[in-house]
Amino acid sequence: MSSTVVSTQQAEIEETMKRIQTHKGVHGFVVMSNDGSFVRSTIDNSTTMSLTGLIRTLSDKAKSCVRDLDPQNDLTFLRIRTKKQEILVAPDKDYLTIVLQANEQH
């Protein structure tokens, strides 16, 4: 029973990921695991590699910063808005998700 639950859940998450990828303005979507390898990526390999390495560093630094200020706190989300796009980083226990979204030009 649990396996079917997991598989439906997996299917739902897959669908969610698909929706994320096709969301308005999204350039790229990367999921990387803690050991630095990436699991899912919609951008080319070289960019992904550099992105994962750099973002991982930054995310860890931000996380340690937040936790140093208050150990009971934790980092839930990180957003970097640049001139060209916006980088959304969501850290998790095992994985790190990065989404690149174009800035909304109103």
Binding site: V6, Q9, Q10, I13, K63, A90, D92, D94
Partner: protein, 759 residues
């Protein structure tokens, strides 16, 4: 006097005695050898006695010769160096001899005694303690055969000659003699130079040969380890979750190779922590303001990525990410919904003069496309959560139905969706248990879902219950009641259906139903005469015989008096009933000529309610008046739904087939204040106000729920204004106000009542 001494430690060997003087040389040279009852070690019939590291005989002979011919001028160390060949090693069982390789030589000379402050005229010549290597090899064999235990320690100082000085007080008795002795001694010393009594002679000791030995051990590697304990790490370790370890390979290389920059250290420690355990420093899960989906498992599969990547692990991240994306794209709209100023200041170009409806966004997804929105309801606890029932109204177009829960944070996909076997026609959230959602279906079943999970199977349903409705359930409502039994939940579900029953459902082990009332089709004289002008009573009787019950389409419970409720029927009558009375109507309101689709009590004004009907009109009623006070009609289309504004007593919205209209009674009773007309393809089927925002949500038949923002709202009107207007309007009708009558067949004087129609 020259003092010659040596300070070598002495070794105590039992059963040895030494005498001073030259005789020792030979005596000791031989003594060790003869008295050395060196135990022979026999093992396996082999003589395994350890061999001596140095052949003592060779050494002794040489030493003996050299010493005997010793001359004060030569240094025995030269002799030592020339004669001693230290490399006479034979393989012994123990290689400790190696380390003692230097020992024989260092023990080459031995001093018996030493140190007293006074002089020794003759130094005890020392001889090689050749026994010692033997002894040491003896001890090195421990473990093979029990050997006599040997203690090596420093012997006591043996004083051969000791002449202590002593101190005598000046007034002692012997002072004189002592002084004389001292003087004599001094004179003796002075006269020593040229005297014949004394002969000077030099002495020397042997200096042992020095041999250098080198050993080499395995290279001792040193590594520097560092860990940086941040506040967070200290907190974690206090809680027993410390993850600081220094033993990962990657970590080592980083601390060795990288420079000791603090950031690097942090990174290495941080990543070392992560890599080693694969977990983050904190085990607190991500806080969510929304209800969370099922928490992902944490099995860490890093081996083959695409195959075994379990996407349920990133469930929470995906959830959050989607919402953030939505927020990014729709920030303006969401801000307007919330009543905040949107970030972009640029004006759209359309300025609204008066009250206006401005489309914000629409809740719509692929799964809801082309589905008719039949019901809308808000969650009691979370005012952003909207439940939408999808299903066609008509009988001949039945398909699977759908119920979705939408949230403001995600416009493109519902939070929950439940497929139902047939069209959903009514939805209602419970107030006591905010996660329970009751859904009424076209076939009369009532399902109760728990919205905490996305399970299609309802928690409870009335499939098997004997009191099940046999016709579509058009409206549902949760009521709080007194608990009559202990296992009651304190809440009941009330439903109305076309089979003419208003039923109460108790949620005990399953559903239990009680009928509140059976809607009997009655045609009061008043009604007949009004509608048909001259129909006879007997027709009504025959109608009564044929169709006992009339189908109920809607109901609404009076907000002031929970026992009273209104029920609208298919034939256009509104019955006022009491929950306690299941036989009779308290009152009946007639005025509509078509089925009543929706009833709504005014949330602000007491005793005022609206009804919308398929006869293209919306009517405003006051309790006690059997005729409508005001009637609103603007289009020639049935009005599916109406909704009072929660803030303003004179405003309400209605959903025609072709338009959403906002009416403000205080401004104009003939025309709506603002109208949004539907596009070609869609019709509006339901409408509701948002509880926490100045927005109106309208459901269409193509599956979208469109959110309109009300702009330029006027001051909310008060109840008094409403009553004022009603009074004005009703003065046209010369009916005396009679607010307390509750009889069924209320015989009021009839007059020609000009209806205040717009068109």
């Amino acid at each position: 006097m020259r003092v010659l001494s040596s300070t070598l430690p002495s070794f105590y060997i039992p059963n040895r005695c030494y005498s001073s003087g030259a005789t020792r040389k030979t005596a000791t040279a031989t003594a060790p050898r003869t008295t050395r009852g060196f135990p022979k070690l026999i093992e396996n019939d082999q003589d395994v006695t350890p061999k001596r590291l140095i052949d003592p005989e060779q050494y002794y002979n040489k030493v003996k010769d050299s010493v005997l011919t010793h001359d004060a001028s030569s240094t025995p160390s030269e002799i030592g160096y020339s004669t001693v060949q230290p490399q006479v090693f034979s393989a012994t069982k123990s290689m400790i001899g190696l380390s003692h390789g230097g020992a024989p030589n260092s023990h080459g000379t031995d001093a018996e005694s030493f140190p007293s402050d006074h002089d020794n005229d003759q130094l005890a010549q020392s001889d090689a303690m050749h026994g010692i290597p033997d002894e040491e090899s003896l001890t090195s064999m421990d473990g093979e055969t029990p050997q006599p235990s040997l203690t090596l320690s420093e012997t006591e100082t043996i004083f051969i000659l000791s002449m202590d000085s002593c101190i005598v007080a000046e007034d002692a008795t012997e002072v004189e003699t002592i002084k004389q002795q001292n003087e004599r001694y001094i004179e003796l010393c002075k006269s020593r130079q040229g005297s014949d009594l004394f002969n000077e002679r030099g002495m020397n000791t042997f200096n042992s040969t020095v041999k250098n030995k080198e050993i080499q051990c395995e290279r001792i590697n040193s590594q520097s380890r560092e860990a940086y304990a941040s506040t967070a790490d200290m907190y974690d370790s206090e809680r027993g979750e410390s993850k600081i370890i220094l033993s990962t390979n990657t970590h080592e290389t980083q601390t060795i190779d990288d420079g000791p920059l603090r950031t690097d250290a942090t990174r290495s420690v941080g990543s070392g922590i992560d890599k080693s355990h694969g977990t983050r420093l904190s085990d607190q899960s991500i806080d969510e303001t929304m209800r969370k989906p099922i928490v992902a498992k944490t099995t860490n599969t890093e081996t083959e990525l695409p195959e075994t990547f379990d996407s349920s692990k990133i469930a929470t991240i995906a959830f959050v990410m989607e919402r953030i994306l939505n927020l990014n794209t729709n920030q303006g709209k969401q801000a307007v919904y919330r009543g905040l100023t949107p970030l972009d200041k640029e004006e759209k170009g359309i300025t609204y003069a008066g009250l206006a409806l401005d489309k914000l966004f629409a809740y719509s997804a692929d799964i809801t496309s082309n589905k008719n929105v039949s019901a809308l309801t808000w969650n009691q606890k979370n005012p952003d959560l909207l439940a939408v029932g999808y299903g066609p109204f008509e009988y001949n177009d039945q398909r699977d139905g759908l119920v979705c829960c939408w949230s403001l944070k995600n416009q493109d996909f519902p939070e929950r969706f439940y497929h139902t076997p047939c069209a959903a026609t009514a939805v209602a959230f419970s107030s006591k248990f905010p996660s329970l959602l009751a859904v009424g279906l076209f076939d009369g079943t009532v399902n109760v879902y728990n919205v905490q999970n996305n399970n299609d199977t309802p928690l409870l349903d009335t499939e098997e219950v004997p009191g099940k409705h046999t016709a579509p359930v058009w409206q549902l409502c949760w009521l709080g009641v007194e608990k009559s039994r202990d296992d009651d939940t304190g809440e009941v579900l009330m439903s109305v259906s076309t089979d003419g029953r208003v039923t109460q459902w108790l949620l005990r082990k399953g559903f239990e139903s009680n009928d509140y009332i059976r809607l009997k089709r009655i045609l009061s004289k008043q009604t007949i005469q009004r509608r048909d002008g001259g129909k006879e009573q007997k027709i009504s009787k025959s109608e009564n015989l044929l169709y006992r019950s009339s189908g109920g389409l809607c109901f609404d419970i009076c907000p002031d008096d929970k026992m009273i409720y209104l029920c609208g029927t298919e034939e256009g009558l509104i019955h006022q009933c009491s929950l306690g009375n299941n036989e009779q109507y308290l009152d009946t309101y007639s005025g509509h000529s078509g089925p009543i689709y929706r009833l709504a009590w005014s949330p602000l004004a007491k005793g005022v309610f609206l009804s919308s009907s398929a006869d293209w009109t919306v009517s405003l009623w006051v309790v006690g008046r059997p005729q409508p006070c005001i009637t609103f009609a603007s289009r020639k289309k049935p009005v599916f739904d109406i909704c009072w504004s929660p803030k303003s007593a004179t405003m309400f919205c209605c959903a025609n087939e072709e338009a959403v209209e906002v009416w403000d009674i205080s401004k104009n009773t003939l025309e709506p204040v603002d109208v949004i007309t539907a596009g070609q393809q869609q019709i509006f089927t339901s409408i509701t106000y948002s509880p926490n925002s100045e927005c109106v949500l309208a459901g269409t038949n193509i599956g979208a729920v469109v959110v309109y923002n009300l702009k330029n709202l006027p001051e909310p009107a008060t109840v008094d204004q409403l009553m004022e207007i009603i009074k004005q309007q009703t003065q046209h009708l010369s009916l005396p106000e009679d607010g307390t009558s509750k009889a069924i067949a209320n015989m009021k004087p009839k007059e020609n009542i000009p209806m205040t129609h717009g068109k």
